[in-house]
Symmetry: C2
Subunit: 564 residues, 2 copies
């Protein structure tokens, strides 16, 4: 707890590297002491996994401490910076431990899940901003607003940048960004899955939320098991992606093995989390990567998978498992005649919408840009670049073409795709594919004169329609307010570029027509807010703000309202 207060002092004194070693030592020691004290306090409450984490942390911390402070003279052959980073890593570990403890305490006390989600995001963002302000994170130092912007952009996996990630930040700074992206991505997946778990039952959203409020502690176990599954799947996919990226890279572009490895890891995490951060100044449009279609295909696969959402990824894994099992049954001679219902309605809607948007988007991009940005690519290259261009605005945020050279009609298509965004319970943002699908199904069913929305032999619940409606209206409210404010603060920028920036921020896309860095501090603040709201979703914010209404037993008469 008290380490949190020490945090500020720690950041400010960090400018004098040598003199604060003692301070670091104290901080880490206090961390260890705090951990041990916690065990003494409530010995039986703590879980096995938490114990393992703590023990590992303490061992790592002690090793680092030994290597750095006590054995400093002996290890002079390792660069100071490198050493120093390890110390900082130890400190971060200490903070994470303290922070997670904080979280659990919150949950047991006053905050509801929505508030907890928001509070944790805010804390990580502020923490990230301070970390990025550490002198070793950047080559020349960074202003608070730019650090906060970068931190928010990383945690909200948006990818908008005010300073060039590759050249402005040191490897340490880039590592911080990587951690923030990973934390943001996993955090979102966890919370989204947690929410989606409650949605499964079929009862109304509000009932379930109330249920979760009352039975808070017993549900906590399931959250942890979901978290575990998410962590395993996320890291597995990222590892495979990183390995694949590594093999496709042109060795000549990297000076050291570490550089190439870091590039692979960074882009793997950034792609799967749909963050869109790149260490290259021009994202994947950079020469040497622009024509590396293999690399681009792998990155497309990673961010599409991340954008499909965790439940679908699990669904796909189950499906694959089913096929493997079937094959085994086939070989062993046993026959399985009954084909199980593998894809849920949710997954089906998501997959169909995603497929339609991607195919139509790719075609339009191909046709629109054939004589423009695609002209420098050959046959297959044109296709991969068009696919990339159509898939990336749905919250990935990398670009393989020059954004400012795009045709107007293509930019308009990007607006729509950015607004729709990825699928629910994914690392992507936007109003989500399901919302878009329900909006479309709604007016089609009304036009056909149907009294209910039916799809795939299922009827869609009223609450889903109402939520979709709310999500769309709130998105317009936030984006509209954002555009107005930025237009007032930066009246020299064109409306098109400002609108693009706001849609990109709200959909946590990260594409830009190039004005992000030139914005005034106030506008940057607006974009930070839009990114944050786009990420946690305005509806979650509103739900968190209001007190729960007790369910009532009375019922008012229903009346229709003229809508024409």
């Amino acid at each position: 707890m008290f380490l949190f207060i020490a945090d500020f002092g720690f950041d400010k004194s960090a400018k004098l590297q040598e003199t604060i070693n003692t301070f670091y030592f104290v901080v880490i020691s206090l961390g260890i002491v705090a951990t041990i004290l916690r065990y003494v306090e409530r010995l039986k409450e703590i879980k096995r996994s938490v114990v393992i984490f703590d023990v590992v942390t303490i061992i790592i911390t002690l090793t680092i401490l030994y290597a750095h402070f006590l054995g400093e003279q002996a290890h002079r052959h390792i660069s100071f910076l490198y050493n120093d980073n390890w110390v900082k890593f130890a400190i971060i570990l200490t903070f994470i431990r303290e922070f997670s403890e904080q979280n659990i305490n919150y949950k047991r006390t006053t905050l509801n899940p929505g508030q907890l989600f928001i509070a944790s995001f805010l804390t990580i963002i502020v923490l990230g901003a301070f970390l990025l302000m550490l002198p070793n994170a950047t080559h020349q130092g960074i202003s608070f607003i730019d650090a906060l912007f970068t931190s928010t952009s990383a945690v909200c996996v948006t990818g908008l940048i005010v300073v060039d990630t590759g050249s402005y930040f040191t490897t340490f700074g880039q590592s911080i960004i990587l951690c923030l992206i990973q934390a943001g991505g996993i955090g979102i997946l966890t919370v989204a899955s947690y929410f989606s778990y409650f949605f499964k039952g079929g009862a109304s959203y509000e009932n379930q939320l109330t249920l979760s409020d009352m039975t808070g502690s017993s549900k906590l176990g399931e959250v942890f098991s979901t978290l575990k599954r998410i962590l395993v799947i996320t890291f597995s996919i990222e590892l495979v992606t990183a390995a694949l990226i590594y093999t496709t890279l042109d060795g000549k572009l990297f000076n050291t093995f570490f550089e190439r490895l870091f590039f692979s890891a960074f882009h793997s995490v950034s792609a799967f989390c749909n963050a869109g951060f790149s260490t290259l100044p021009n994202s994947l449009y950079e020469s040497g990567f622009r024509y590396n279609y293999m690399l681009q295909s792998i990155i497309i696969a990673a961010f599409v998978l991340g954008g499909l959402g965790f439940p679908i990824v699990v669904n796909i894994i189950k499906y694959l498992k089913y096929f493997v099992v079937k094959k085994i049954f086939y070989f062993t001679g046993k026959e399985q005649t009954h084909k199980p219902w593998v894809l849920t309605l949710n997954s089906r809607i998501t997959l169909v919408t995603t497929t339609v948007l991607t195919v139509v988007g790719t075609l339009l991009f191909y046709i629109n840009e054939y004589h423009n940005t695609l002209s420098e690519h050959d046959g297959i290259g044109k296709f991969v670049t068009a696919l990339f261009g159509a898939a990336t605005p749905r919250t990935a945020g990398f670009n393989t073409v020059d954004m400012s050279a795009l045709n107007f009609s293509t930019i308009m298509m990007l607006f729509l795709l950015m607004w729709i965004g990825a699928s629910p319970a994914s690392t992507g943002g936007g109003i989500k594919t399901n919302t878009f699908a329900i909006a479309t199904l709604n007016f089609l069913s009304l036009a056909k004169g149907k009294s209910r929305i039916e799809v795939f032999r299922r009827e869609i619940a009223e609450v889903s329609v109402r939520r979709a409606f709310a999500v769309i209206t709130l998105s317009l409210l936030v984006i509209g307010t954002g555009i107005i404010l930025i237009s007032i603060f930066d009246d020299d920028k064109s409306l098109l570029t400002i609108a693009f920036e706001c849609f990109s921020a709200y959909g946590t896309v990260g594409l830009s027509l190039g004005i992000t860095a030139k914005l005034s501090a106030l506008s940057k603040g607006v974009i930070i807010l839009v990114m944050f709201i786009g990420r946690v979703s305005m509806l979650t914010l509103l739900i968190a703000m209001f007190k729960k209404v007790k369910h009532k037993n009375y019922k008012y008469p229903i009346e229709e309202i003229t809508i024409n």
Copy 2:
């Protein structure tokens, strides 16, 4: 019927005034013969009111015929043009009679109410365009696209103009525009009330539409009684408004009594129908009218009343009647203790939303423009101008300030107000106040964790929410497509002015940042379409397009969809 085919020939040969007199004579005679023939054909079917209309028409027509063709030599002292207009009036009357007969026939045959509504609008628009192309309608002639634009703008009571109404059209042309506005306004009120009548029951929209389809002819009587009430109320209000406008005008600005009378009538109809057409080149910003706050207040009252919608106007009249009755009871000594529930939920929502929007809009306009466009006005003038500025974008379309001089933030507010528009079953357009209210109530109730939308001790029906949702998504679709197309066709115009034009067209507002006349023919076509769709509403179009689905007895399982 055959007169419709003759219409084309009539338009083309109209260039030679003297030689076609015989042709006119034939046309009108045929009209009279056709009317008489109808009576012979089905003597018992025809209503008393129709008979009165026909008899009056025939008498007028014969009088005109006598005055013009036969007594031509005797009446030379009345100008030829004046005479000629009366002939045209007779011809229009003939057409109206034929046309309305057409309508009823349609109803009895194949078209559903939605299709009938659309078909009648399209016919009036095309007819209006041809009438405006008559050489006597303009001083120098008009292109087809501009005539179609003006006709659409008048019938859809939008008010966007490509040529200056006052100087480009002759008094005859202006009269045609006035008739088109009146036809459009009443047409909308009729259909809207007709629809709203079916909404009242509380059962679902689709059931009622099916019911109306099956019992078509029996409902027809109620449509006519509603139409009668609408006509009486509309003309009464317009008459009072015209009289009031007349008294507030500065006599020095008009050359003749007729000119001043025409100005009053034109602006009265244009205001109540929310058309926003003005015979002044700069609308009410024209010097001589800019500071005429009394005139402006009357016009505000007229268009606000028109924008509230017919059911509310009826409600208000009932309310006033109730008070008068109460007063009488009071004087006669009898006491009435039971206060009836006068305002329906629909009216309450509309009134509250309208009041909130107007008050907030006026305040914001006042604050935003205090040192800008309001600076030339004094105390009360500032207030009236701010009120005018906040009320006019909700589909009225007159302006008392220089639109291009407005602050950016004011323009942004206008966007929102134009999009929201007027109330249902009114002469105004936009997504409508009720849709906006339901959208707001929806996310507030979701945020509060309520499972239903409750307001004024009533629950809002699911179908209303779904319709509101559809209206909002479709409005975005149409406006977005419009903006994209115009941006492609006219890439020299700024995005802001194009977006303003599209919002104005969709909301049938008629305000413009000054680019309407400079648009290319293709863009004018787009605006024509947007005005039309904004007027008849995309949902009506869709409902009209699809075949009705038979109600099913099966029911699929309900499933919730993840929306986050």
